[in-house]
């Protein structure tokens, strides 16, 4: 159907009403809907398809967390012909722990991905689709985990490749000498990303105000960190660590990072001297994850009733 506009013969135009065309192509169900929500959440977290202001925070953070790797590689390049040992300003293990930057990022991104859905009442529209609460939680947590993993892992890749290229022994030798890094870094980064994401999303799900959620995330991490520090005390080397260090939610993934890289908890860390510190850290980590998931599944349970 069309309604033609009149005019000169040489400049005749028409406005077409294309009507409605049914869709007869392939159609997914829960899996497809979950994947779609996952992708949409990643786009939102990174500020893609949004105003430029929304892109500033994630990409500035990516730049910030990559700077140590670039500086480290740069120093290696400049000093590669010097007689003294290579100067390393950061190791792969330490690089996993750029947690203050990541903590800030979680406090910015997790509320932005979660809170508007409730505040702007988008949830009923989502759950009118082939999607249930578990799918929603999976997509949202998965998106935050993916972004955090990417932001933690990419700098490590820059560091590793850069070190390979400036290695005095040659790139291949550096690769063979450090091949264990290729699994240790992804595992440690994944452990860190998973916990920050679950905690960040769980806290964000409890409010529809982004500023409250962000402050709560930072507050929860910092309060547990300070509380653990006060209880354990500062003179760890002399008196040994304490199990109270396990209440430090911020540090739990770092204890596991040490287990991954060192095969044990850090001898100079807050769990120093506690027997089975690694297992206890793992147990505490799993408890935090489980608590976060329970909060999330209960929070979005209503759509399944």
């Amino acid at each position: 159907m069309s309604f033609a506009a009149t005019g000169d013969e040489g400049a005749r135009g028409a406005v077409y009403d294309r009507g409605y065309r049914p869709y007869d192509g392939p159609r997914g169900r829960r899996g497809a809907a979950t994947l779609a929500l996952y992708k949409a959440s990643i786009r939102r977290g990174l500020g893609l398809r949004r105003a430029w202001r929304q892109k500033v925070a994630p990409f500035v953070l990516l730049a910030v967390v990559t700077i140590p790797a670039i500086v480290n590689v740069g120093i290696g390049y400049v000093t590669r012909d010097q007689a003294f040992d290579r100067i390393e300003i950061i190791t792969y293990r330490n690089y996993v722990g750029v947690s203050s930057a990541l903590l800030l990022f979680v406090a910015l991104v997790a509320p932005d991905v979660i809170c508007p859905d409730r505040r702007q009442r988008v949830l009923p529209l989502m759950f009118a689709r082939p999607l249930i609460g578990r799918d929603y939680v999976t997509a949202k947590v998965g998106a935050i985990v993916s972004i955090l993993f990417m932001f933690s892992f990419l700098p490590q890749v820059v560091l590793f490749v850069g070190n390979m290229l400036v290695s005095t022994n040659g790139a291949f030798d550096y690769l063979t000498e450090n091949v264990d890094v290729l699994w240790k870094v992804p595992v440690a980064v994944l452990v860190l990303s998973l916990q920050y994401a679950v905690v960040g999303v769980a806290v964000s799900s409890l409010t529809d105000r982004r500023i409250v959620a962000g402050a709560s995330i930072i507050g929860m991490f910092l309060v547990t960190s300070i509380a653990a520090g006060v209880i354990v005390g500062e003179d760890i080397d002399r008196s040994g660590g304490s199990l109270a260090a396990l209440i430090n939610v911020l540090a739990l993934p770092l204890y596991l990072r040490d287990v991954v890289f060192l095969g044990q908890v850090d001898p100079e860390g807050s769990l120093n001297g506690t027997s089975g510190g690694g297992w206890l850290a793992l147990a505490a980590y799993l408890v935090v994850l489980a608590a976060g998931m329970v909060v999330l599944l209960r929070r979005y349970r209503w759509v399944e009733r």
Partner: protein, 324 residues
């Protein structure tokens, strides 16, 4: 032609909705009380006052709430047994604001297309087509936060349609619209029927239903008042309305001399008709006065009259008119 996956409702004899003994109780409140009704395909109005149970019915249809008692079938599918299957066939336009304001209409509708199970490319294409259909083609790359109420309503309708549903649930689609926007929205809703999409439109505005819907389900306090085709509910009243232009006063006087009661108001003459003979007399009088006969219509009861009469007659009285 509807896609092959939507075969269950293609059979015309299959009711679109079948509610059997549907009851939903919340603590201290019975939102729906033993509601039993069958609804055919087409444009359906779900009518009731605020708090009558319309939104609760939608929540139950979508599987977002469980009935306390009773059963719901949408397109022959039991909602309790396969809520995901039902939702795959439905589109939903809520009454309240529900759109992410910092995203463009194209992004939002496309994302909801993907959430409905469409591949990303198809979702983008359909989002473009549907936004064009609802009249937002020029504005689709603008953030929704800058939209007027009418444009937001259209965007909400677009997201409900992007998944190519068999049935669209519209909750108060004309709420907050100015008269022109309301007319445009109702025209859009009416067009959906020509596309083979059934519509269940919940509203308390009976004029909207009368204008668009071919079947009406009226509920009050969670109970069925009446269900039937719109035409069957609009009864003749014994009045005809005549438009004879400026000659209304002359016609009224002439009819009075023939013992036929008539009143002239707003340029129209309303004539009381007791028998077919009165219509003949009316015709002859108009001819004798050489008046132009622009229009002659039977005056019908409005849905407001039907609702008020049936509701006051008793909550259960209308069930005998349950649709077929």
């Amino acid at each position: 032609m509807r896609p092959t996956w939507q075969t269950s409702c293609v059979v015309d004899t299959e009711p679109l909705l079948r509610l059997t003994g549907l009851t939903k109780r919340y603590p201290g409140v019975t939102a729906l009380d033993d509601l039993t009704v069958e609804v055919p395909r087409g444009l359906i109005g779900l009518v009731g006052a605020n708090g009558a149970g319309k939104t609760t019915t939608f929540r139950l249809l979508l599987g977002l709430a469980h009935p306390t008692e009773g059963q719901i079938e949408v397109c022959g599918i039991d909602v309790a047994a396969d809520p995901i299957g039902v939702r795959s066939r439905l589109g939903f336009m809520p009454e309240h604001d529900c759109l992410p304001l910092d995203q463009t209409a194209a992004d939002v509708v496309s994302t909801f297309g993907e959430l409905s199970g469409l591949p990303a490319r198809a979702a983008r294409q359909r989002a473009s087509d549907i936004l064009d259909l609802v009249g937002l083609d020029e504005a689709r790359f603008r953030p929704i936060g800058g939209f007027s109420t009418g444009m937001r309503q259209r965007t909400k309708l677009a997201q409900a349609l992007v998944g190519d549903p068999e049935l669209v649930l519209l909750d108060e689609p004309t709420a907050g619209l100015d008269p022109l926007g309301r007319e445009e929205m109702l025209a859009l809703v009416a067009r959906l029927g020509t596309f083979g999409i059934s519509v269940l439109m919940a509203t308390h505005l009976l004029d909207d239903v009368q204008q668009v819907c071919d079947h009406v389900v009226m509920i009050d306090a969670g109970r069925l008042v009446v269900s039937g085709t719109t035409d069957s509910l609009l009864e003749r009243t014994g009045f005809v309305t005549v438009d004879v232009g400026a000659g209304g006063a002359d016609l009224t006087a002439a009819l009075a001399s023939q013992s036929i009661h008539a009143t002239w108001a707003d340029g129209l003459v309303e004539v009381t008709i007791d028998s077919e003979v009165d219509l003949d007399v009316l015709r002859d009088v108009v001819a004798e006065l050489r008046l132009p006969m622009y229009r002659l219509t039977s005056r019908l009861t409005s849905l407001d009259d039907v609702f008020l009469r049936r509701a006051s007659a008793g909550a259960g009285a209308g069930t005998s008119g349950a649709a077929g």
